[in-house]
């Protein structure tokens, strides 16, 4: 099997996963008691109104036909109207998802640029106070839910010290940049408004940090563990025997192979950030998908729920696919094994 075939196979699995997720939500949505048409129209609707909506929603047709219609809608990005906002759910998400995505991307960056160096540091100074400190930090990150971090950091930095803004995305009075992508980083810098961008960054720090801490902890732990594991391998001894400097051994010969498990798990963590963003957004009043998601769940707004869950699923699947590619790049054995199987 060629490497490209392997990737194609992974891609097909992603499609199967999305189909599975859509079928699961469809089934759950259909087993709940209550007539969806009645719920959509409210208690005052007449019998004929309900009957005509039932026809329009294909509710009188067999289940597999209903699933086909539903799937067709999903493929066109049509999730139907949200009962909560009375707008197409896809339009709601187009407005809200970019700002969540932006938060998640920054948190993901923090995970990598803080977590991996911490792990390298801990492995290089193994069994010293540096190692112990990093271990305590990562323990704290793993065992504390993101919303508790959010509240604690907010109390310290926004209220007690007053150095960072409490909530929101921009200070009052700062004109938001014209919406192009919905992500302020791009919109502000593209529109030539760096001061808006810096204001945004100040608002971003606390949510992004609270969101990333669990991932930072995980990254540091994993990087340390696999660096320590690889440090005992013969090829490192060999490099040392050749007189290569310790720093070069650590950063060149040990880092790349030890990143393989880290990247795999970090990919999962990165995808999980989208779920945790729900918790952080609600603390910092971040105008993203979270509040919408919770509201539509509490309002039993099925179309919007399907939209939110499918967007999360799609994000998860795309990230996992990218991780497969990245791991293939980092680990030539994966690529080669696929080649050998072909031979």
């Amino acid at each position: 099997m060629r490497y490209s075939t392997y990737l194609l196979q992974r891609m097909l699995l992603s499609v199967v996963v999305l189909l599975g997720l859509s079928a699961l939500i469809f089934l759950i949505a259909r087993v709940i008691p209550g007539d969806p048409a009645r719920i959509a129209l409210g208690p005052l609707a007449s019998r004929t109104q309900i009957a005509s909506l039932r026809t329009a929603m294909h509710l009188d047709e067999p289940l597999y036909r209903q699933y086909a219609y539903y799937l067709g809608g999903l493929l066109n990005g049509d999730f139907g109207e949200s009962l909560y906002t009375r707008r197409p759910a896809s339009a709601d998400l187009r407005e809200l998802f970019p700002s969540t995505l932006e938060l998640v991307v920054y948190a993901g960056l923090l995970m990598v640029v803080v977590g991996i160096p911490l792990g390298i540091l801990a492995a290089s100074y193994r069994d010293t106070w540096v190692d112990t400190t990093v271990r305590l930090i990562s323990l704290g990150g793993v065992v504390t839910p993101a919303f508790v971090w959010a509240i604690v950091l907010m109390l310290i930095f926004a209220y007690a010290l007053g150095v960072l803004p409490v909530a929101g995305r921009l200070s009052p009075g700062v004109v938001p940049p014209p919406v192009v992508t919905g992500m302020i980083t791009i919109d502000a810098l593209w529109g030539g408004a760096p001061s808006t961008y810096f204001d945004f960054l100040r608002h971003l720090i606390l949510p992004a940090v609270s969101l990333s801490l669990a991932g930072v902890a995980q990254a540091a732990r994993l990087t340390r563990a696999s660096m320590v594991d690889i440090a005992g391998r013969p090829f490192i001894e060999a490099a040392r025997a050749f007189g290569i400097s310790e720093a070069r051994i650590a950063l060149k010969y040990m880092l790349k192979p030890s990143l393989i498990p880290t990247v795999t798990i970090l990919g999962l963590d990165f995808a999980a950030l989208l779920g945790n963003a729900f918790l952080v957004e609600s603390v910092f009043n971040w105008p993203g998908m979270a509040r919408y998601g919770v509201e539509v769940i509490l309002h039993k707004d099925l179309n919007a729920i399907v939209a939110v869950v499918m967007v999360m699923g799609l994000f998860f699947v795309v990230i996992n696919f990218l991780i497969d590619i990245l791991v293939g790049y980092l680990d030539p054995r994966i690529r080669l094994r696929q080649m050998e199987d072909a031979a």
């Binding site: 699995l13 992603s14 199967v16 996963v17 599975g20 997720l21 699961l24 939500i25 759950i28 949505a29 087993v31 709940i32 323990l139 793993v142 065992v143 504390t144 839910p145 993101a146 919303f147 508790v148 509240i151 604690v152 907010m154 109390l155 209220y159 007690a160 995808a271 999980a272 989208l274 779920g275 945790n276 729900f278 918790l279 609600s282 603390v283 998601g293 919770v294 539509v296 769940i297 509490l298 039993k300 099925l302 729920i305 939110v308 869950v309 999360m312 699923g313 994000f315 998860f316 699947v317 996992n320």
Partner: protein
Amino acid sequence: MSTAVAAPAADQLRRTWYAFSRNTGSVVGLAVVVIVVLATALAPWITPFPRHARAFTDFEHASLAPARPHLFGTDTIGRDILTRVVFGFRFSLLLGVVVLSAAVPTGVMLGLVAGYYRGWPETVIMRVTDIFLSIPPLALALAILAVLEPNLQNAMLAVSVMWWPWYTRLVYGLVSSLRNEAYVQAAQIVGASPVHILLREILPNCLPAVLTKMTLDMAFVILIGSSLSFLGLGVQPPDPDLGTMVADGAKYMPDLWWISVFPGLGILVIVLGFNLLGDGLRDVFGVEV
């Protein structure tokens, strides 16, 4: 080999305990878990205001900052936070225990079957497991809670549904290698039934890994459960739940900070305990989970 070895078994236990007790973290974890379990069991007797655990109002003593006799302060309707945190541990433990006792047997059984019988049972079970594992964890729970009423039982159901595949995968991996062991082949040759082989020969050898993972997962299930109730999708008021309490307090930041911060620390303590204990077990058993 089960009856004649009472003394060596005790010896083994003592040795395991010795290895376990060398690690400060493990002992701290065990101590935290024991204290939390005892505190929840004895909550009605040891908490200062047991009546405050449920619906109760006392506006005269509302929103008091931490001071005697309310060491953690009171909430906006005058309930003692310390009492509610201790009672809140009950819901956390309950969630963890119920979820794991639903998810673990299911996952383990499927893993045993998939790992032992090759062919279509393996394909079907493992593909379904893969799909479940590929669904973002919180999304599945949200989808389930979306259509059911948000309450403790449904939160348990939602978390259980997302948890079993991890055990299927773990046990499947173990069985795949154990099925070629000499003692399994010996049992096959003397004509032992597959049920006997799976439950009496293979399962006991999977238990250290499963128990270790269960301990670590108590921590994660409690974390997820508190996140769901933080969003208002888990335990409903007036029942005291740590996540719900943090969410309540968040509305009164920063003035009434204690309403959120102490329940938040409560989550930290209980999760930390199970996490350290699980890490300790992993080292002692020498298993990968």
